[in-house]
Protein backbone atom coordinates (compact mmCIF):
# COMPACT_ATOMS: atom_id res chain seq x y z
CA UNK A 1 0.00 0.00 0.00
CA UNK A 2 1.35 3.40 -0.94
CA UNK A 3 0.30 6.24 1.25
CA UNK A 4 -0.68 9.57 -0.14
CA UNK A 5 -0.51 12.64 2.04
CA UNK A 6 -4.16 13.38 1.23
CA UNK A 7 -5.32 9.93 2.25
CA UNK A 8 -7.63 9.35 5.16
CA UNK A 9 -5.01 6.88 6.37
CA UNK A 10 -2.46 9.64 6.41
CA UNK A 11 -4.75 11.81 8.53
CA UNK A 12 -5.21 8.92 10.89
CA UNK A 13 -1.43 8.43 11.18
CA UNK A 14 -1.09 12.14 11.91
CA UNK A 15 -3.68 11.84 14.68
CA UNK A 16 -2.03 8.89 16.43
CA UNK A 17 1.67 9.61 15.85
CA UNK A 18 2.05 11.16 19.31
CA UNK A 19 0.17 8.26 20.89
CA UNK A 20 -3.35 7.15 21.70
CA UNK A 21 -5.16 9.34 24.22
CA UNK A 22 -5.48 7.91 27.73
CA UNK A 23 -9.26 8.01 27.84
CA UNK A 24 -11.76 5.12 28.06
CA UNK A 25 -12.60 5.24 24.33
CA UNK A 26 -9.38 6.33 22.60
CA UNK A 27 -10.44 5.32 19.06
CA UNK A 28 -13.67 7.30 19.37
CA UNK A 29 -11.67 10.31 20.56
CA UNK A 30 -9.24 10.03 17.63
CA UNK A 31 -12.23 9.72 15.30
CA UNK A 32 -13.80 12.88 16.67
CA UNK A 33 -10.60 14.80 15.93
CA UNK A 34 -10.47 13.76 12.27
CA UNK A 35 -14.13 13.15 11.43
CA UNK A 36 -14.20 9.35 11.43
CA UNK A 37 -16.35 6.93 13.36
CA UNK A 38 -14.82 4.80 16.09
CA UNK A 39 -15.39 1.73 13.92
CA UNK A 40 -13.65 3.30 10.97
CA UNK A 41 -10.61 4.20 13.08
CA UNK A 42 -10.32 0.63 14.38
CA UNK A 43 -10.83 -0.87 10.92
CA UNK A 44 -8.22 1.38 9.34
CA UNK A 45 -5.67 0.63 12.07
CA UNK A 46 -6.33 -3.04 11.55
CA UNK A 47 -5.72 -2.56 7.82
CA UNK A 48 -2.49 -0.62 8.35
CA UNK A 49 -1.22 -3.48 10.52
CA UNK A 50 -2.31 -6.15 8.05
CA UNK A 51 -0.39 -4.49 5.21
CA UNK A 52 2.69 -3.85 7.34
CA UNK A 53 2.66 -0.05 7.52
CA UNK A 54 2.27 -0.44 11.28
CA UNK A 55 4.75 -2.93 12.74
CA UNK A 56 3.07 -3.07 16.11
CA UNK A 57 0.51 -1.27 18.19
CA UNK A 58 1.02 -1.11 21.93
CA UNK A 59 2.95 0.33 24.82
CA UNK A 60 6.28 1.79 23.78
CA UNK A 61 8.71 1.66 26.69
CA UNK A 62 12.01 3.42 27.27
CA UNK A 63 14.71 0.82 27.85
CA UNK A 64 16.99 3.10 29.79
CA UNK A 65 14.34 3.95 32.38
CA UNK A 66 13.61 0.26 32.90
CA UNK A 67 17.15 -0.56 33.88
CA UNK A 68 18.63 -1.36 30.46
CA UNK A 69 21.27 1.27 30.90
CA UNK A 70 23.62 0.28 28.11
CA UNK A 71 22.88 0.31 24.41
CA UNK A 72 25.18 -0.03 21.47
CA UNK A 73 24.80 0.32 17.76
CA UNK A 74 26.80 -2.61 16.41
CA UNK A 75 27.94 -2.22 12.82
CA UNK A 76 29.30 -4.99 10.63
CA UNK A 77 31.08 -5.13 7.29
CA UNK A 78 29.61 -8.26 5.70
CA UNK A 79 29.75 -9.41 2.06
CA UNK A 80 26.95 -7.76 0.09
CA UNK A 81 25.66 -11.06 -1.24
CA UNK A 82 25.27 -12.44 2.30
CA UNK A 83 23.78 -9.42 4.02
CA UNK A 84 20.14 -10.56 3.73
CA UNK A 85 20.83 -13.97 5.26
CA UNK A 86 22.96 -12.53 8.05
CA UNK A 87 20.41 -9.80 8.74
CA UNK A 88 17.68 -12.41 9.06
CA UNK A 89 19.85 -14.39 11.47
CA UNK A 90 20.48 -11.33 13.66
CA UNK A 91 16.85 -10.24 13.61
CA UNK A 92 15.92 -13.45 15.39
CA UNK A 93 17.78 -12.49 18.55
CA UNK A 94 15.74 -11.19 21.44
CA UNK A 95 18.34 -8.61 22.44
CA UNK A 96 18.47 -7.11 18.94
CA UNK A 97 15.89 -4.34 18.83
CA UNK A 98 16.63 -3.01 15.33
CA UNK A 99 18.44 -4.49 12.35
CA UNK A 100 18.98 -2.64 9.08
CA UNK A 101 21.06 -2.78 5.95
CA UNK A 102 22.51 0.64 5.12
CA UNK A 103 24.92 1.89 2.42
CA UNK A 104 28.70 1.98 2.85
CA UNK A 105 30.39 5.39 2.55
CA UNK A 106 33.98 6.54 2.05
CA UNK A 107 35.71 5.86 5.38
CA UNK A 108 32.64 3.91 6.56
CA UNK A 109 32.83 0.27 5.42
CA UNK A 110 29.90 -1.08 7.46
CA UNK A 111 26.72 -2.20 5.73
CA UNK A 112 24.76 -3.99 8.48
CA UNK A 113 23.52 -2.25 11.63
CA UNK A 114 21.87 -3.64 14.72
CA UNK A 115 20.89 -2.14 18.06
CA UNK A 116 21.56 -4.08 21.23
CA UNK A 117 20.30 -3.21 24.71
CA UNK A 118 21.65 -4.60 27.97
CA UNK A 119 21.82 -4.00 31.69
CA UNK A 120 25.42 -2.75 31.38
CA UNK A 121 28.37 -2.70 28.98
CA UNK A 122 29.49 -6.25 29.76
CA UNK A 123 25.98 -7.49 29.17
CA UNK A 124 25.89 -5.83 25.73
CA UNK A 125 29.36 -7.11 24.78
CA UNK A 126 28.35 -10.64 25.77
CA UNK A 127 25.32 -10.37 23.47
CA UNK A 128 27.58 -9.17 20.64
CA UNK A 129 29.81 -12.23 21.08
CA UNK A 130 26.83 -14.57 21.11
CA UNK A 131 25.48 -12.91 18.00
CA UNK A 132 28.83 -13.13 16.18
CA UNK A 133 29.17 -16.81 17.07
CA UNK A 134 25.60 -17.75 16.21
CA UNK A 135 25.58 -15.96 12.85
CA UNK A 136 29.20 -17.03 12.13
CA UNK A 137 30.58 -13.52 11.97
CA UNK A 138 33.68 -13.91 14.14
CA UNK A 139 35.84 -13.07 11.12
CA UNK A 140 33.79 -10.01 10.15
CA UNK A 141 35.07 -6.48 10.72
CA UNK A 142 32.76 -4.86 13.25
CA UNK A 143 32.53 -1.88 15.55
CA UNK A 144 30.54 -1.43 18.75
CA UNK A 145 29.33 2.14 19.21
CA UNK A 146 28.09 2.48 22.78
CA UNK A 147 25.82 5.40 23.44
CA UNK A 148 27.29 7.94 25.80
CA UNK A 149 24.54 10.53 26.09
CA UNK A 150 20.95 10.74 24.92
CA UNK A 151 20.08 14.15 23.59
CA UNK A 152 16.63 13.28 22.24
CA UNK A 153 14.30 10.28 22.13
CA UNK A 154 10.71 10.29 21.01
CA UNK A 155 8.50 8.80 18.34
CA UNK A 156 8.85 10.06 14.79
CA UNK A 157 6.41 12.67 13.53
CA UNK A 158 5.29 11.74 10.03
CA UNK A 159 2.73 14.41 9.37
CA UNK A 160 3.13 18.15 9.69
CA UNK A 161 6.57 17.98 11.26
CA UNK A 162 7.69 21.05 9.35
Amino acid sequence: MDLNIDDDNYRLIGAIQRGLPLVPRPYAEIGTRIGMTENEVMARLNGLMACGVIKRLGIIVRHHELGYRANAMVVWDVPDHEVDAIGACMAGFEQVTLCYRRPRRPGWPYNLFCMIHGRDREDVLAHVETLARSCRLEWCPRNVLFSRRRFKQRGALYVGAA
Binding site: G19, K55, A88, Y100, R149, F151, L157, V159
Partner: protein, 166 residues
Amino acid sequence: MNGEACRCEQIAESADTLSLWERRLLNEFQRGFPLTPRPYADIGARLGVSEREVLEALARLGEAGVVSRVGAVFRPNRVGSSTLAAMSVPAPRLLEVAEIVNSYAEVNHNYEREHRLNLWFVLTASSKARLKEVLADIERCTGLAVMSLPMLADYHIDLGFDLAWT
Protein backbone atom coordinates in the same frame (compact mmCIF):
# COMPACT_ATOMS: atom_id res chain seq x y z
CA MET B 1 19.76 17.95 29.10
CA ASN B 2 20.79 17.92 32.73
CA GLY B 3 17.11 17.83 33.52
CA GLU B 4 16.80 14.62 31.56
CA ALA B 5 19.77 13.02 33.32
CA CYS B 6 18.25 13.81 36.73
CA ARG B 7 14.85 12.50 35.72
CA CYS B 8 16.40 9.12 34.86
CA GLU B 9 17.68 8.63 38.39
CA GLN B 10 14.22 9.10 39.88
CA ILE B 11 12.79 6.70 37.36
CA ALA B 12 15.30 3.98 38.13
CA GLU B 13 13.71 3.77 41.55
CA SER B 14 10.17 3.78 40.22
CA ALA B 15 11.00 0.90 37.83
CA ASP B 16 11.99 -1.19 40.84
CA THR B 17 8.74 -0.44 42.63
CA LEU B 18 6.38 -1.50 39.86
CA SER B 19 3.72 -3.92 40.99
CA LEU B 20 3.38 -7.33 39.38
CA TRP B 21 0.39 -6.32 37.27
CA GLU B 22 2.16 -3.15 36.13
CA ARG B 23 5.12 -5.25 35.00
CA ARG B 24 2.77 -7.50 33.10
CA LEU B 25 1.12 -4.42 31.59
CA LEU B 26 4.49 -3.22 30.28
CA ASN B 27 5.67 -6.60 29.10
CA GLU B 28 2.54 -8.11 27.58
CA PHE B 29 1.00 -5.13 25.81
CA GLN B 30 3.89 -3.84 23.73
CA ARG B 31 2.09 -5.45 20.80
CA GLY B 32 -1.37 -6.77 20.18
CA PHE B 33 -2.97 -3.75 21.84
CA PRO B 34 -6.73 -4.40 21.74
CA LEU B 35 -8.51 -2.87 18.77
CA THR B 36 -11.78 -2.74 20.67
CA PRO B 37 -13.89 0.24 21.75
CA ARG B 38 -12.56 0.10 25.32
CA PRO B 39 -9.02 -1.28 25.07
CA TYR B 40 -7.92 -0.16 28.54
CA ALA B 41 -10.90 -1.94 30.12
CA ASP B 42 -10.04 -5.11 28.18
CA ILE B 43 -6.41 -4.91 29.32
CA GLY B 44 -7.61 -4.39 32.88
CA ALA B 45 -9.83 -7.45 32.64
CA ARG B 46 -6.83 -9.55 31.59
CA LEU B 47 -4.71 -8.21 34.45
CA GLY B 48 -7.44 -8.28 37.08
CA VAL B 49 -7.62 -4.51 37.58
CA SER B 50 -10.05 -1.79 36.55
CA GLU B 51 -9.97 0.36 33.43
CA ARG B 52 -9.28 3.34 35.65
CA GLU B 53 -6.26 1.68 37.25
CA VAL B 54 -4.79 0.91 33.81
CA LEU B 55 -5.32 4.50 32.65
CA GLU B 56 -3.82 5.91 35.84
CA ALA B 57 -0.80 3.60 35.67
CA LEU B 58 -0.11 4.53 32.03
CA ALA B 59 -0.41 8.23 32.82
CA ARG B 60 1.96 7.90 35.77
CA LEU B 61 4.49 5.76 33.88
CA GLY B 62 4.29 8.22 31.01
CA GLU B 63 5.06 11.10 33.32
CA ALA B 64 7.95 9.15 34.82
CA GLY B 65 9.37 8.50 31.33
CA VAL B 66 9.13 4.71 31.55
CA VAL B 67 6.44 4.71 28.88
CA SER B 68 7.16 6.79 25.80
CA ARG B 69 3.58 6.47 24.52
CA VAL B 70 0.83 4.04 23.74
CA GLY B 71 0.82 3.94 20.00
CA ALA B 72 2.08 2.58 16.75
CA VAL B 73 5.55 1.71 15.50
CA PHE B 74 5.62 2.37 11.77
CA ARG B 75 7.73 0.52 9.25
CA PRO B 76 10.47 2.90 8.07
CA ASN B 77 9.89 4.61 4.74
CA ARG B 78 6.35 3.32 4.31
CA VAL B 79 5.16 6.60 5.76
CA GLY B 80 7.34 9.61 5.11
CA SER B 81 11.06 9.35 4.51
CA SER B 82 13.75 8.67 7.08
CA THR B 83 17.48 8.24 7.46
CA LEU B 84 20.20 7.69 10.03
CA ALA B 85 22.73 10.52 10.06
CA ALA B 86 26.15 10.82 11.64
CA MET B 87 28.50 13.71 12.30
CA SER B 88 32.03 14.00 13.55
CA VAL B 89 31.81 16.86 16.04
CA PRO B 90 34.80 18.36 17.88
CA ALA B 91 34.30 17.62 21.60
CA PRO B 92 34.00 21.26 22.73
CA ARG B 93 31.19 21.83 20.24
CA LEU B 94 29.19 18.70 20.94
CA LEU B 95 26.48 20.23 23.15
CA GLU B 96 26.00 23.20 20.88
CA VAL B 97 25.72 21.03 17.77
CA ALA B 98 23.42 18.53 19.53
CA GLU B 99 21.10 21.42 20.42
CA ILE B 100 20.99 22.58 16.81
CA VAL B 101 20.20 19.03 15.64
CA ASN B 102 17.52 18.65 18.35
CA SER B 103 15.83 21.85 17.29
CA TYR B 104 14.45 20.18 14.15
CA ALA B 105 11.04 18.57 14.60
CA GLU B 106 12.18 15.95 12.06
CA VAL B 107 14.82 14.62 14.47
CA ASN B 108 13.36 11.97 16.77
CA HIS B 109 16.47 10.29 18.18
CA ASN B 110 19.84 11.89 18.85
CA TYR B 111 22.70 10.18 20.68
CA GLU B 112 26.34 10.74 21.44
CA ARG B 113 28.25 7.53 20.59
CA GLU B 114 31.79 6.31 21.16
CA HIS B 115 33.40 6.79 17.78
CA ARG B 116 35.13 9.42 15.66
CA LEU B 117 31.61 9.91 14.27
CA ASN B 118 30.27 10.86 17.68
CA LEU B 119 26.79 12.26 17.01
CA TRP B 120 24.13 9.93 15.57
CA PHE B 121 20.55 10.93 14.91
CA VAL B 122 17.44 9.67 13.14
CA LEU B 123 15.48 11.99 10.88
CA THR B 124 11.94 11.36 9.71
CA ALA B 125 10.30 13.82 7.34
CA SER B 126 7.05 13.92 5.42
CA SER B 127 8.94 13.70 2.11
CA LYS B 128 12.36 12.97 0.60
CA ALA B 129 12.69 16.61 -0.44
CA ARG B 130 12.09 17.83 3.10
CA LEU B 131 14.60 15.29 4.44
CA LYS B 132 17.26 16.58 2.04
CA GLU B 133 16.48 20.15 3.00
CA VAL B 134 16.91 19.46 6.73
CA LEU B 135 20.22 17.64 6.17
CA ALA B 136 21.53 20.56 4.12
CA ASP B 137 20.28 23.00 6.72
CA ILE B 138 22.10 21.18 9.54
CA GLU B 139 25.33 21.23 7.52
CA ARG B 140 24.93 24.95 6.90
CA CYS B 141 24.09 25.80 10.52
CA THR B 142 26.91 23.77 12.03
CA GLY B 143 29.55 24.05 9.32
CA LEU B 144 30.08 20.29 9.66
CA ALA B 145 29.50 17.44 7.23
CA VAL B 146 26.57 15.09 7.76
CA MET B 147 26.82 11.48 6.58
CA SER B 148 23.39 10.11 5.67
CA LEU B 149 22.78 6.36 5.77
CA PRO B 150 19.25 5.63 4.60
CA MET B 151 17.86 2.19 5.31
CA LEU B 152 18.17 -0.28 2.42
CA ALA B 153 16.50 -3.24 4.11
CA ASP B 154 14.75 -3.81 7.42
CA TYR B 155 15.32 -7.30 8.89
CA HIS B 156 13.77 -6.86 12.28
CA ILE B 157 10.23 -7.86 13.04
CA ASP B 158 9.36 -5.64 15.95
CA LEU B 159 7.69 -7.65 18.67
CA GLY B 160 8.53 -5.23 21.44
CA PHE B 161 11.18 -5.90 24.05
CA ASP B 162 11.00 -8.71 26.58
CA LEU B 163 11.70 -7.07 29.92
CA ALA B 164 12.66 -10.47 31.39
CA TRP B 165 10.80 -9.95 34.64
CA THR B 166 8.91 -13.18 34.69
